[in-house]
């Protein structure tokens, strides 16, 4: 069930009414209800994978209890932690990376002159596997570190792993934030619910209007990039930056907004990353839940930046490389990650990586000329790296960039948008989108209003305008990019 589907628009209000009217009487009832609807939500893709999510939940639930029980027996604690890690990452490895390793093994064998015939498997990737396994692992590691008490309520724990708003594409929640919320009974908060709806509405706008319309042109250009002019290639590369941002941050906004309807607060996942003044700031604002996951569970345990210079470099490359690989079984993602490591390192090594921790142009309407240049430079570097992320293979990415940078006018310059959103209209929509995000950049989301200051009729007009734009220019339903990860 996609967020941007009719089925979800029926599912959500029904679940909302049942939740508050019937099930939110006791914690146990409430959690059982959330578990049931979450499994229904996930099972609507493929019910067979419910066994997988239940298995991962069961393993981590048991591991948490065993780790806590063996508080004074470190070897056993390590055995349980390692077992949980091996099982969870092993499942991700089989479902997501098996064919990648087989194909590369065969290619390497051939290069070395010893041909191998190893058949690859037709494995269907379970939706959101990287998200829920990472969320489950964060719990086990937190229990091991003593940052979290092991959960003894399996229904609450299974609900935490499968909580439907963020199940398939995050934010990857931390047990320390989300799991305790399953232990208390929520009270309906009008302002939270209303603001949640506003946030979800903006998420729908980002996904349906921005991402899906950009996708039409981006797909067209990437599928035929050999016959496109440099200008078209550059245009598509820039549009992809907005597509992936609109797609993923749109999903996160819908997830967070819907969750607030049920009284649960999820962590912020995006904080206007394209208004960053350097790459370090970009990574503090982009896919925050994943970046901080790798920081806390990989980078810091390796020593982070508090070790020798050589080890710091190694840690940064490892973190970004693994982060890239997390996105998919393709060398393009790994190169994308490593490229970002190259962007990130100079700032870290010179001690300038925390220069910009506040919001750009804080308290002002417009940025300074220097800030504009810094943001444009960061955005350009990001767009360059996104080409690797989007391309089907490394050779195609390099070819795409080479053609883009030759500044040749040969090839197609005329691009076709959807029936109702030409490239010119799309540019105007992007301008509207960037303007709203800029004006609201210090807020939690772009449709945040101070209800005490702004009268209801004006707010309602704003909502109707956004809904009208979604209806008028929304592209055909497309799946979310991050579902494949």
């Amino acid at each position: 069930m996609l967020f941007n589907s009719l089925a979800f628009l029926i599912f959500l209000p029904v679940v909302f009414v049942l939740y508050w009217a019937v099930f939110n009487r006791t914690v146990a009832w409430r959690n059982a209800f959330i578990l049931g609807i979450s499994y229904y939500f996930y099972g609507s893709w493929d019910w067979r994978f419910l066994f997988l999510i239940a298995f991962v939940s069961g393993v981590c639930y048991l591991a948490g209890i065993k780790i806590e029980e063996n508080e004074r027996n470190k070897p056993w604690r390590q055995v349980w932690l390692t077992s949980a890690c091996v099982i969870c990452f092993g499942l991700v490895g089989v479902f997501k990376y098996f064919n990648f390793f087989i194909e590369n093994f065969v290619a390497m064998s051939r290069a070395l002159g010893c041909a191998q015939n190893v058949a690859s498997l037709h494995i269907i990737l379970p939706v959101g596997i990287s998200f829920f396994t990472f969320q489950a692992m964060s719990y086990v590691i937190d229990v091991y570190r003593g940052q979290m008490r092991a959960s003894r309520d399996w229904v609450a724990f299974f609900s935490y792993i499968s909580y439907f708003p963020q199940l398939v594409a995050g934010p990857i929640e931390r047990s320390t934030n989300l799991l305790p919320q399953f232990g208390v009974l929520q009270r309906f908060n009008y302002d939270e619910a209303a603001d949640g709806l506003r946030q979800a509405l903006w998420g729908f706008f980002k996904k349906i209007v921005i991402a899906d319309n950009c996708a039409i042109i981006v797909n067209q250009v990437y599928a035929n990039y050999e016959s496109m002019s440099s200008r078209s290639l550059l245009f598509a590369a820039v549009l992809f930056a907005f597509q992936i941002y609109g797609d993923f941050s749109g999903y996160s906004d819908i997830a967070i907004g819907c969750s607030r309807l049920f009284g649960f607060r999820l962590m912020r996942n995006f904080a206007n990353p394209y208004f960053s003044r350097d790459v370090a700031e970009f990574w503090r604002r982009w896919h925050i839940s994943l970046s901080t996951w790798f920081r806390d569970y990989l980078y810091f345990p390796l020593g982070g930046s508090r070790c020798s210079r050589w080890k710091t470099v190694r840690n940064v490359f490892l973190m970004f490389g693994v982060s890239g690989f997390w996105h998919g079984a393709n060398w393009t993602f790994i190169v994308w990650g490593l490229l970002n490591a190259c962007y990130f390192l100079p700032g870290l090594l010179t001690g300038n990586n925390r220069r910009h921790t506040n919001c750009v142009a804080e308290g002002r309407l417009l940025p300074t000329v220097k800030e504009v240049f810094l943001m444009a430079g960061t955005f350009a570097a990001t767009v360059f790296a996104w080409v690797f992320f989007r391309a089907e293979s490394l050779s195609k990415a390099v070819d795409y960039l080479a053609r883009m940078l030759t500044l040749s006018e040969k090839g197609t310059t005329k691009l076709v948008g959807s029936l109702y959103c030409s490239p010119t209209i799309l540019l105007l929509l992007l301008l509207f989108f960037i303007s709203v995000e800029w004006v609201q950049r210090e807020k939690q989301h772009a449709l945040w209003f101070n209800c005490m200051v702004m009268p209801a009729p004006i707010r309602w007009v704003a909502y109707y305008v956004v809904i009208a734009i979604i209806f008028a220019f929304g592209a055909a339903q497309q799946t979310f990019i991050y579902f494949q990860f």
Binding site: H122, A223, T412, Y420, C421, Y463, A472
Partner: protein, 311 residues
Amino acid sequence: MIKRFVLKSVIFFIPLLLGLGCLELLVRRIPNEYSFKWKTIDMRCSDIETLVLGNSQLFYGVDTDVLGPTAFNMANVSQTLKYDDYVVTCFGAHLTRLRQVILPLSYFSLVSSLESGDEAWRGKNYRIYWKHPDGWPIQRNMEILNGTALVIKRIYGFYLRGNTGITCSATGFGLTYRCDRRPANWESTGAAAARRHTVRVHDTKILRENVSHVKSIIEKCRAKGVHVTLVLPPAWETYAEKLDPSQLQAAIITGEELAREPGVTYVNLLQDPRFTADDFYDADHLNEVGARKLARLLTEDVTGRHGKKLD
């Protein structure tokens, strides 16, 4: 508190739902190709001798106008064999003078399903205007659930500018793929179209269903003494050369096997030298010149067998 929230939400959404309801009513009143073709075949079914079914390759590729008023083109963009079978089922008994059915067995016909592809949104046309019994998913039952933007554009175009959505002739032939509108890069569209038409994972269920639809059409036609011409439509080399050999071979073998039945002809025109660059609109569609040529060629074939000219 929650009551207030629900009440306010309902008040907020009522104007939206009313507005969408009005749009649905308005858009359904606009004539379109599906409603036009359904009404026309219903009215003229006792006159029709040649019936063309299938997808865009025959919608734009068989000019029924040159065959005279006894021919009718019931093909539509992305129409699959399921709906071709439905047409024959609905009108078979009423097509009393029918002599020939032309059905495409394109490269992708046997492996594609309208419901599972990018063109699934077209399914509502069959449900709403052809009364097809398939009512699931719910989107098939309402225009506004399949791109409200398009609905608004159509309403604006019809009520304020007088444009209908009908782009075919009185005999159902698609008129928009004309030589003078041919895109400059028409040859280079071949690779992308071939990629689009090639399935990555073969779904045997879809294949079985499509073959059974073709067989069902053939049986119904044979019962009435109607000749069935299965055709692999002409395509330009930039398209033909990029096709997956195994998928293509499977389509050809199936066509040849079906043609062993009495009253069935299979014509493979994929890279037929009689169709030159001047006959194409893009790499996988003919223009009006090619469409005239193909219409004559397919009906002459039957003329030879039956000994009587259709036009």
